[in-house]
Assembly symmetry: C2
Homo-oligomer: 477 residues x 2
């Protein structure tokens, strides 16, 4: 008989039918009650065995982490805590799990830090199975949202010869040897001999290529890995992370903000509708985690309450200039509690963003129209000549979750910005061609997917929402 | 008024309503008829302008590739070839396109080879807009299929320190300088100083990490970029390509074959249901392309006929040993028309695979149970001690589109294979842990996404089904 998933058994109203289940032991009590999980749901299924008629050596092998097949009957449960259970007729050991060696056998609950060191096994915990089912749902919701709107999913290249975004340090990709690499006559490394015939890096963004797609297909999005070789050891940075980048022809900044807001709300709603059990577990986990914090640092809302709040309230929309004014009028500024100075023209620091989002507006905030000098060359210059049509979305507890802009579609203005910012035009002929031939207003943004998962899961370290985090000095597994 | 997409106008049964459309000029006839396209569909919309009341300088700027806004009314068309057209009330130029400079202005139809050189503009052609809308639909169908089955989409790492799959040459990922890189006392490159504190590469497969997920979440799939630093300049190889890799706990080889077959048929059916216009265009393109071939080399079936045939016929399933027997009995073997020798124990060459698929069975073929010595260490050893529970799916015109196996879940057998094949066990402790703790039978496969797009689109070069192909000496854009 083919296997029935535990999720299906728990959702099924019926009882008194035969099943075969396969999964891993989460606990075994009184030589009688096995809590078994197969990854399909956060909830375990209780299996009741007749220990008097079960081989003693098998009983000894039913340990946490062991893999079992159970043939039996689904019956109404007499015990508390579950509606149904499986009365086992036959238990078969598929894979043993020595309790003396198994790292998840610990009596004390393993810490998130320790689980990070055994990331190959942490999928087997309630917390991480919930996080990764949730991550899946968020990823699927992203594809579903854009597909329904008629966007084309465009796979922009990971290996790139362009460094034009200037978004940060890049990883080299090469097949040249470090020992005695080929050199040109004047002693430089001869990248003509490299695999691609030139120096190449890992991409920091698919945006520029995405724009090329939008200028023909109308509406595209990317969803792929991007990279930063920055030595940032924080709870919010990864060297390898996934980014979603929609790019839309004929969009202005307002259309762009509307899309981003609708998008974020859609994805959160999808998770609430499809991952309720996982979210309830993660909400409870967060409550437990925050018990160790001083009361003042605890979240004002529970996880699910927070998500519903984001669904039910429009994001605040303010200009950078308005943001600066609010900050200059704020208590922490007047009391000199901000570490960094505030003046028009400098970028907002994390402490400023958090004040705006968490203290002042208490909801997601879209900040627009930043000074041109602190933003990228491709952002559209506003009529004031000083600001660009940029937008950042700031989320409570996370900070920047989206960065975007209307793009500069006017050839002369774009070239002028490239000159000012020393972007090589010859290498970027393909980007300029999109303005040379049939240019059109367009806009887009990038959403850091792991920051989205952080926000929805209530986890606090970005390394805990990607299966195998890549950070400075860490590329395990 | 907000823009209406051309696809929506063409699908709408109504007429006599006002619209604003935005898009790019495909052609302009008689100073009166503009064929305009916005990427939402392969079909153009005809816009009729009143040239007597249109500014002459504007008329001159309505050239192929120019970007326009048209405000007007949808009316029933009197002309042939379209049901509706838009009577323009106002035409606004958004972006001009100088016909003297525009590469797609050529009188002669540009070749696919030339379009590859201007990949940043080729989205604007009918062929490539159809290919990339199709690619989108296939990607979405993949996510939809696995989501419906309860699989978890797992993002396995792109940067990896493991080279255990041995699937081919890898790209180095590094931040070390070529000039005077740090060295250890004994003169070796000191990778401890590199970003990740060790030597790292671009992944060739997410399978091994995927197995770790399957051993807890039950059913996972990856869908991400993978890399080969092989100097293969063929129509079927890319240095950077996307791969789909499902991995399923408690699956045996038959389950694996059933999943792969259902998966391929689902994705093709989705494309037929959702991209009919694009497929009909691509089918016609293929007919035109094949007119230049000798009759004997032309496809026996049209593109759509071929796809429907794959939907309506079970894949043939044979063992490697049976395949060898068929080949040894074949006409081309007896007539010495095969270039490579055939004997039990050597891998099937492309010419052999094509004979089996295109001449002998005339449909997709799943070949199973290959000799262990020509397959990877992780494939499950069959009871004969000579073969492994591998499967390759071979598709007409494409060759291998899927490679997979049941995995070796037995610790002792796995360790023995690793020793025989010189796979370092210490580095792979995390992989072995999945067998040490609660091991279970499981299986999975990898599908080369671009080969799937090739198969469904009827294109003949893999560089024409990925937006920006990466191949030896080529990383443009």
């Amino acid at each position: 008989m083919s296997r029935t998933k535990i999720k299906a058994i728990l959702l099924n109203e019926q009882t008194d039918y035969a099943v075969t289940i396969k999964g891993w032991v989460r606990s075994f009590r009184n030589n009688q009650f096995i809590a078994i999980n197969d990854g399909s749901t956060i909830n375990n299924l209780q299996v009741v065995i007749d220990f008097e008629h079960t081989d003693e050596s098998l009983l000894k092998q039913i340990t946490t982490g062991a893999s079992l097949q159970v043939d039996g009957t689904v019956v109404a449960s007499l015990g508390k805590g579950q509606r149904v259970e499986v009365k086992a007729e036959k238990v078969t050991l598929l894979g043993e799990c020595n309790p003396e060696e198994y790292p998840l056998q610990l009596k004390n609950k393993p810490s998130l830090e320790y689980l990070r060191e055994i990331a190959h096994l942490r999928f087997r915990t309630n917390t991480f199975s919930a996080v990764f089912r949730l991550r899946h749902s968020l990823a699927f919701a992203i594809h579903k949202f854009y597909n329904e709107k008629g966007f084309v999913y465009l796979h922009t290249p990971v290996i790139t010869a362009s460094d034009a975004e200037g978004a940060g340090e890049m990883f080299k990709v090469t097949t040249l040897p470090f020992d005695n690499p080929p050199r040109t006559e004047d002693g430089q490394i001869d990248y003509k001999e490299d695999f691609f015939g030139r120096a190449t890096n890992l991409t920091v963004s698919g945006q520029l290529e995405g724009e090329l797609g939008a200028m023909a297909l109308g509406e595209i999005y990317t969803f792929g890995p991007t990279f930063r070789a920055e030595n940032s050891n924080t709870a919010r940075h990864l060297a390898e992370f996934w980014m979603v980048e929609p790019e839309v022809a004929f969009f202005d900044l307002k259309d762009n903000m509307d899309l981003a807001e609708e998008f974020i709300q859609y994805v959160i709603r999808y998770a609430l509708d499809n991952n309720r059990d996982d979210l309830e577990f993660l909400a409870q986990r967060l409550v437990e985690e925050e018990k160790s914090k001083p009361a003042a640092e605890r979240s004002e809302m529970g996880l699910i309450e927070k998500l519903e709040f984001v669904l039910n309230n429009k994001f605040e929309r303010i200009t950078y200039t308005e943001a600066i004014d609010i900050l200059l009028q704020s208590k922490p500024y007047k009391k000199k509690q901000f570490q960094y100075d505030i003046q028009w023209g400098t970028d907002l620091q994390s402490e400023h963003e958090r004040f705006l989002v968490e203290k002042h507006f208490k909801k997601p905030v879209i900040v627009t129209d930043y000074p041109k000098d602190i933003k990228s060359f491709y952002m559209r210059l506003n009529d004031d000549g000083k600001t660009v049509a940029a937008m950042d979305i700031l989320a409570p507890g996370i900070g920047e979750i989206v960065g975007g802009s209307q793009r500069e579609e006017r050839m002369d203005k774009l070239v002028q910005r490239m000159e000012e910012m020393h972007i090589p035009q010859e290498e970027m002929y393909w980007y300029l061609d999109s303005r040379r031939f049939g240019s059109a207003p367009h806009a887009g943004f990038g959403l850091g997917f792991e920051r989205m998962v952080l926000f929805v899961s209530g986890m606090s370290n970005i390394r805990d929402v990607i299966p195998f985090p890549r950070t400075p000095k860490n590329a395990d597994f």
